[in-house]
Amino acid sequence: MRPKSLDLLQGTLDLLILKTLALGPMHGWGISQRIQQTSNDVLRVNQGSLYPALQRLETAGWIDAEWGASDNNRQAKFYRLTKTGQKQLRDEQAAWERMTGAVARILAAGNEV
């Protein structure tokens, strides 16, 4: 049995993908593994939303993709952050931090009562 994992909040997947790709080009499976590992298996990426999300980000122009060889020499589609993607990442990250900060403050205030 694996530890119970959380489903991703709506909209956060885009941010996580962008962040993950900020570290370097990566294929879809790699992205899902990376998010899972980095979050210590707390966050599980639903494959069903991963590929549509990648497609969406590519269409938006925030990432682009090219085919390359993976570690084990299989052909894989590697995604890479674009210029506009980097800017989008900064914007989204800032927005996320503002929001989580706000949520955290509200929760903390509740604790003091």
């Binding site: 639903n46 494959q47 069903g48 549509p52 497609q55 589609k77």
Partner: protein, 881 residues
């Protein structure tokens, strides 16, 4: 945007990429499991399971790519083509049914489009009004304008830039000695300027051509120039003898349709001997030389309605100024109609009727194909359930079904265009009986656009009905091993409703067609008052310049009649201007009865005809009172006249024979010597009008020379002898329009007969489609209830009982449709009254016949499936479960 476009057009490649990407993902995932010690099969399965519903992800990924709808549509079409290729039977029937419906619409629409919608091919076509006069109370529609009236209009009307006249004559044009009978348009010198026609050679007429002493000039029509002069470019300036005058050709017209009549060539009014003579009499007789067609070019910016009002007002002024000519009891009106409307006046109602019929045919075809599709869906329930289980939404399913129906409809549309294209020739000839605008009929871009719109529209209609009956609850279908039974109660009702609608529609059409057929049948059998069998008629028109006056005409016609009467095989010959059903309108001549005070407002009127003595004998028209004409009623004898029965009413019960009447305000008096039976002279559907007949010898001029021969045997056999007899007297006299009166009579019914025939074809088509629909629905229901029949028969039901049960089911559907259809027909058939002769729109005989035909045909349609039901082997049916 570029990405989206690339996504759209590179769809297939991107799909392959996505496939590989997902494969890679699954491989990596499986590898991961293997590394943890899971056997490879199991690892693969686990990877798949973790990935989740594949189709759904793939589709969502595609959707994320951009313009998903269009991409989906293309893919749906592709899939639809594959699916349909797997059921060619269904596809073929659907395409055939729809193709017939669409083809009928495309064909009729191409006619409607060409005749009614295409602008006139003249520069000023959209500004032309036709002025016509009518006297509805005297039963006269659209009689022409007189010269004096035209001049008054020119003086009074301010809404027009020009008013021009047209009338048609037949003249002999002598071409290198050969007489050529030419249809001649006699027109104002600015006729072509007002219509907006430029010549391709030379010039048209000018002001100077009307000057006194000007040379007579001609403008040739394109077709005449081509066929008779081999399109000789040197024709301009050539001189031909016509009416004993030299006429010079000054121009050739382009290949445009001639309105209002097709003629060979044109001359200005000053060159026509009759028209120019009449011009000099107009002061004496206001109505002299009526019968002009007058075209007006409405000033730019002036609405048609304003011009129409002005013309109507001028007509009222005529009535106020000359009450004895424009009598109140005739309801005289000066009216206008756009030239296009006037030229299509007879065709318009027929075309709309046909278009309405074909629209019904198409509606019915849609219902039929919708039904087929429903039946097919019954078999596809499991496929759809599977697709829903794999993640397709209901919306996707509906889109998929619509793609299939649209694809079918598009193919059917193309088939329909081919059908329209092949039938257009026949249809054009048919429409040629109603209008001269047939040249504008063709499959132009409008027709293509209309057809494809109709096709795709019907695809959506017949696709949407079954598509909306899909359910998102798919479990029952998946669970069921065999063809679903209970699932489809709603759909079954829908199918029933569609069949009932089809039956109702075809009943309406069948009633319409039957009414027209009944009407034509009655027209064909109507007592016309004369015997048309064994009678030959021909036109022998003496050249006006050769026979200018009464004396010379009499000198030609009297010996001619004499000769014709002596021909072997001829029982009676006559010459007249009164061949029944030839010639359009009665001439309503006012007359006075001796001894009665003429009442200016209610003067008796009659259609006056000139006949040689044996006319009534030749046509077998009975003499009811008094006597017929004889050779004793010669030129110097006392003036005599015969009247028909319809005329007798003017005597208010008094004795007409022996009374005297005058058609020239009492200058000469004619004694009525006999009364003859009424003849439907101006159309089999029109009741006889009051007529008076004057012997040839006493009024020889103004005689349009038509000969009539009653023969002992086959009338056509004496043609040669007749032509020889004419040429023995005058070798230059053309003999034209040689026809038997039966042909004339049949010809006069050709238009209503063809209309009825076309409508019957459509109705028959509709009925055939409907009956296949009935068979299909009953058959589907039988195969669905096979087990039930098995059980019932196992429990003791007889085959007869099963047969009756199935037949009853079919009969209920037909009865419902029939009832609906008859009610609808009773409501809508009123619209047909204008087309019907002596046939009430709710003719109970017709309604009963249609009902009977439908019940019988419907029962036959159910018989096949019903017999299949009785053939069910209870054992087999039960074991199958």
């Amino acid at each position: 945007m570029w990405r989206r476009l690339r996504a759209l057009f590179g769809g297939a490649r991107l799909d392959r990429e996505l496939d590989r990407e997902v494969q890679f993902h699954l491989d990596m995932e499986a590898d991961k499991h293997v590394r943890r010690g899971v056997p490879s099969d199991e690892a693969r399965a686990r990877a798949l399971r973790d990935f989740g519903p594949m189709t759904k992800h793939v589709e969502e990924t595609r959707d994320a790519r951009g313009l998903p709808w269009v991409g989906d549509f293309a893919r749906d079409l592709h899939y639809a083509a594959r699916t349909l290729a797997k059921s060619p039977g269904y596809a073929a029937v659907a395409i055939l049914t729809l193709g017939l419906g669409i083809g009928a619409n495309a064909a009729i629409f191409s006619v409607v489009n060409g005749v009614l919608f295409t602008p006139l091919p003249y520069a000023n076509g959209d500004r032309l009004l036709l002025i016509n006069h009518a006297a509805p109370l005297a039963n006269q529609r659209n009689f022409g304008v007189s010269i004096k009236e035209l001049y008054d209009y020119r003086e009074q009307l301010t809404s027009f830039d020009g008013l021009v006249e047209f009338h048609q004559m037949s003249f002999d044009l002598l071409r290198r000695g050969e007489p050529d009978r030419v249809a001649t348009g006699v027109v104002s010198h600015n006729f072509f300027d007002v219509l907006g026609i430029q010549p391709i050679l030379g010039r048209t007429f000018s002001d100077a051509d009307d000057d006194d002493g000007a040379d007579a000039v001609l403008v040739l029509g394109h077709e005449y120039w081509q066929t008779r002069f081999g399109a000789d470019p040197g024709i301009i300036g050539q001189v031909f003898q016509m009416n004993d005058r030299p006429h010079t050709v000054v121009g050739v017209l382009p290949d445009v349709p001639h309105y209002p009549n097709r003629v060979d060539l044109y001359m200005p009014t000053s060159a026509c001997p009759f028209r120019s003579a009449a011009d000099r009499q107009i002061v004496a007789n206001r109505r002299a030389f009526s019968g002009l067609q007058v075209f007006g070019l409405v000033k730019a910016g002036v609405p048609f309605s304003a011009a129409a009002t002005e013309v109507a007002t001028a007509g009222q002024r005529f009535q106020q100024d000359f009450p004895e000519i424009y009598r109140a009891d005739t309801g005289f009106q000066a009216r206008t109609s756009p030239v296009l409307t006037a030229l299509t006046a007879t065709a318009r109602p027929v075309l709309w009727l046909l278009l309405a019929t074909t629209a019904l045919v198409l509606l019915l075809a849609c219902a039929n194909v919708a039904n087929l599709t429903l039946a097919r869906m019954l078999r596809r329930d499991r496929e759809f359930a599977m697709r829903v289980a794999l993640g397709a939404g209901r919306g996707r399913l509906i889109r998929q079904l619509l793609a299939e129906s649209t694809l079918l409809a598009t193919v059917a549309g193309i088939a329909g265009l081919v059908l329209a294209w092949t039938t257009l020739g026949v249809l054009t000839r048919f429409v040629g009986r109603f209008t001269q605008r047939t040249d504008a009929i063709g499959l132009d871009p409008w027709v293509l656009a209309f057809t494809m719109t109709v096709a795709i529209g019907s695809g959506i209609v017949f696709g949407l009905v079954p598509a909306l009956s899909t359910k998102s609850d798919v479990l029952p279908s998946l669970k069921q091993g065999s063809l679903g039974s209970g699932v489809s109660a709603g759909r079954r009702r829908l199918q029933d409703a569609l069949v009932v609608a089809q039956v109702a529609l075809s009943v309406v059409m069948l009633v319409g067609a039957s009414l027209l057929l009944a009407s034509v049948w009655r027209l064909q059998r109507v007592d016309s008052g004369y015997r048309a069998d064994r009678v030959l008629a021909a036109t022998v028109f003496g050249n006006f310049s050769k026979y200018p006056d009464a004396q010379s005409q009499l000198a030609l016609y009297e010996p001619l009649v004499e000769r014709l009467n002596q021909l072997p095989g001829v029982d009676a010959a006559a010459i007249t201007n009164a061949v029944p059903l030839v010639g359009a309108n009665p001439n309503e001549t006012p007359f006075d009865i001796e001894g009665r005070t003429p009442d200016a407002a209610r003067r008796p009127r009659g259609d006056v005809r000139v006949v040689s003595p044996r006319y009534f004998e030749a046509l077998n028209i009975p003499v009811l009172l008094g006597r017929a004409f004889s050779p004793l009623d010669h030129r110097e004898a006392a003036r005599v006249v015969m009247i028909n029965q319809a005329m007798v009413r003017y005597w208010d019960g008094g004795e007409p024979v022996g009374a005297r009447l005058s058609v020239d305000n009492g200058t000469t008096w004619w004694t009525v010597v006999g009364v003859v039976g009424d003849v439907r002279q101006f159309g089999l559907e029109r009741a006889a009008v009051p007529q008076a007949f004057i012997p040839l010898a006493q009024m020889p001029n103004g005689l349009g020379g038509r000969v009539i021969l009653r023969t002992a045997g086959d009338p056509a056999a004496v043609t040669r002898a007749m032509v020889d007899a004419v040429h023995a007297l005058d070798p230059d006299m053309p003999v034209e329009d040689v026809q038997t009166l039966e042909e004339v009579r049949s010809e006069s019914l050709a238009a209503p007969r063809l209309t009825a025939l076309l409508l019957s074809i459509f109705a028959g088509l509709a009925m055939a489609v409907t009956l296949t629909g009935v068979t299909g629905v009953i058959a589907a229901s039988v195969s669905e209830r096979t087990r039930e029949f098995g059980v019932r028969m196992a429990l003791g039901a007889t085959r007869g009982w099963v047969l009756r049960m199935v037949l009853r089911q079919g009969l209920v559907l037909i009865a419902c449709g029939l009832a609906l259809g008859l009610v609808a027909a009773a409501v809508f058939s009123k619209a047909l009254s204008a087309y019907l002769f002596d046939t009430p729109p709710r003719d109970p005989f017709v309604l009963a016949a249609v009902a009977l035909v439908f019940v019988v045909a419907g029962l036959l349609a159910c018989l096949g499936p019903a017999r299949r039901a009785t053939g069910v082997d209870p054992l087999v049916a039960l074991k199958a479960e």
